[in-house]
Amino acid sequence: MYAQMVDTGLRKLRDAAELSPEERAFQARIDADVKVEPKDWMPEAYRRTLVRQIQQHAHSEIVGMLPEGNWVTRAPSLKRKAILMAKIQDEGGHGLYLYSAAETLGVSRDDLIADLHAGKVKYSSIFNYPTLNWADIGAIGWLVDGAAIMNQIPLCRCSYGPYARAMVRICKEESFHQRQGFDIMIAMAQGTAEQKAMAQDALDRWWWPSLMMFGPPDADSVHSAQSMQWKVKLLSNDELRQRFVDQTVPQAEYLGLAVPDADLKWNAERGHYDFGAIDWSEFHAVLKGNGPCNRDRLRTRVKAWEDGEWVREAAVAHADKRAARAARAA
């Protein structure tokens, strides 16, 4: 997902006997669906896992502004331009809520951003793919925001209070984004032959990376079991992926677009779509930094940060001057 491979720092699940009394009490509260709040005692591994997960999510919102920002100046109508600007602005807001949620765990936004810029933490692999035609903006809303919702709705019930509450606000906006993206896809799929070709091309390129957003298969997800026990992850990667496929395939059919998977077919017995094997080597390559846009995305973020340094310094210097003047006047 936006946080695809969160390291819990633990090799295996421990059973109750291996837990300290504090840890046992903590787990009992989680099992009883009592929210953990910033001032509550929590195991260090729980805190660190959440910091990693929330910051990956926050960075994804911010880096995710870039592929869409790539089309703001070229949006083909004023209405689409306004919708796109508002959407990207929402994503910036999501980043802010999430950095705030992370800060309740005793880290600072500036430190988290420094980690991102140093390449020490990841953001979602999906944002390392390029937006090459206008239909990509539709496909991102439809598929990427769609996948995000799939993951984030359960997270509204996650065990950490500030994260759960941030998710509630975010989910409302994400569902708007998804509808707006699908609306672009409808216009493109029902448009001229050239527009339809753009829509198909966008689906061809975004389909598999969207499925990868849910993270590695459950069998290979060493950290998922612990995260699920802590309720910072509520459904497994494969479960979410299946839900996404089941929801999205009929939408692609409605659009008259072909999902680029020869093995995709409805399985009446399972009541789900079967789909083809995901190329996990591509996923791992992108996570390692070898996606088409990893280098550009990070460079753009670092440049924005460095170019803005004199502005941030001036704002601080001015605030200091004001405070000093106020102190002298008092």
Partner: protein
């Protein structure tokens, strides 16, 4: 020029200012100095774009009164060439660094808010209604850009120097805001348009006060560039439009 023809031209000036400045602010998306600023600056762009759409809608109706049919917002935005755009030269100037963008916004906002407040009293009900709504937004824009001029002007030595250069560099584009041609004069006499000449003193006072607080020098009124409102633009506008208009131009039959 009939009064409707003059009004159409006047509405396009208002609309084009908003669209072109919104397009410039769109270039900043995702690249601001801090996330809060990214959001705030996109917000200003969105307001300006929304205002432009209202002005274009009314321009289309006025055009229909003249010709029987009027263009819609997207035809105005995407199917006119640079010489048909009526925006101020100021708003098409490139973003530069953050201080340049702030200075451009500040000089424009201070004028825009005065203009819109005057237009809110227009004898043309549509103009008055759009201006009243836009004036509220512009008031916030003007406060925000003035705030930043003060922060950057009275911030660090480096920011002071950059802010002063930004103001100096854009000053020659401010004269155009207060020039009035025959069509505008007639509209102003009819109470439809605002008399831009009357905005100069209050603008000077407001800009002067902010610059003083920012410890910046007000540049002398030297040579002033003009031509934007008659379609004689700087070289920058053609590039801005080439980017903005690419899709509708490349795929003229498409609906988006």
């Amino acid at each position: 020029m009939t009064s409707d023809a003059a009004l159409l031209d006047y509405l396009l000036r208002l609309a084009d200012n908003g669209l072109v400045l919104a397009q410039r602010l769109g270039e900043w998306v995702g690249k601001g100095p801090v996330i809060e600023e990214d959001i705030a600056s996109t917000n200003v762009g969105l307001d300006l774009l929304g205002q432009a759409r209202l002005w274009y809608a009314y321009a289309g109706e006025v055009e229909a009164r003249i010709k029987g049919t009027g263009r819609d917002e997207d035809v105005f935005a995407f199917r006119r060439d640079a010489h048909e755009f009526r925006n101020l030269l100021l708003v098409e100037q490139p973003n530069g660094h953050y201080g340049d963008t702030i200075a451009r916004g500040f000089l424009f906002d201070q004028w825009h808010v005065l203009l819109l407040r005057a237009l809110a009293g227009s004898t043309d009900d549509r103009v008055a209604a759009i201006a009243a709504k836009a004036a509220k937004e512009a008031t916030y824009h003007a406060e925000r850009s003035a705030d930043w001029v003060v922060r950057l002007g009275d911030g660090t030595g480096l920011s002071h120097e950059r802010m002063q250069q930004a103001i100096d560099g854009l000053w020659m584009y401010t004269g155009e805001m207060f020039a009035v041609d025959a069509g505008e004069e007639a509209l102003a006499a009819a109470g439809i348009a605002a008399d831009a000449r009357a905005l100069k003193d209050p603008w000077d006072a407001a800009v002067g006060a902010v610059l003083a607080e920012a410890t910046l020098e007000r540049p002398a009124d030297g040579w002033m560039q003009s031509g934007g409102r008659t379609g004689r633009h700087s070289e920058h506008l053609g590039h801005l439009l080439a980017t903005m208009q690419f899709l509708p131009r490349a795929y003229p039959d498409a609906k988006w």
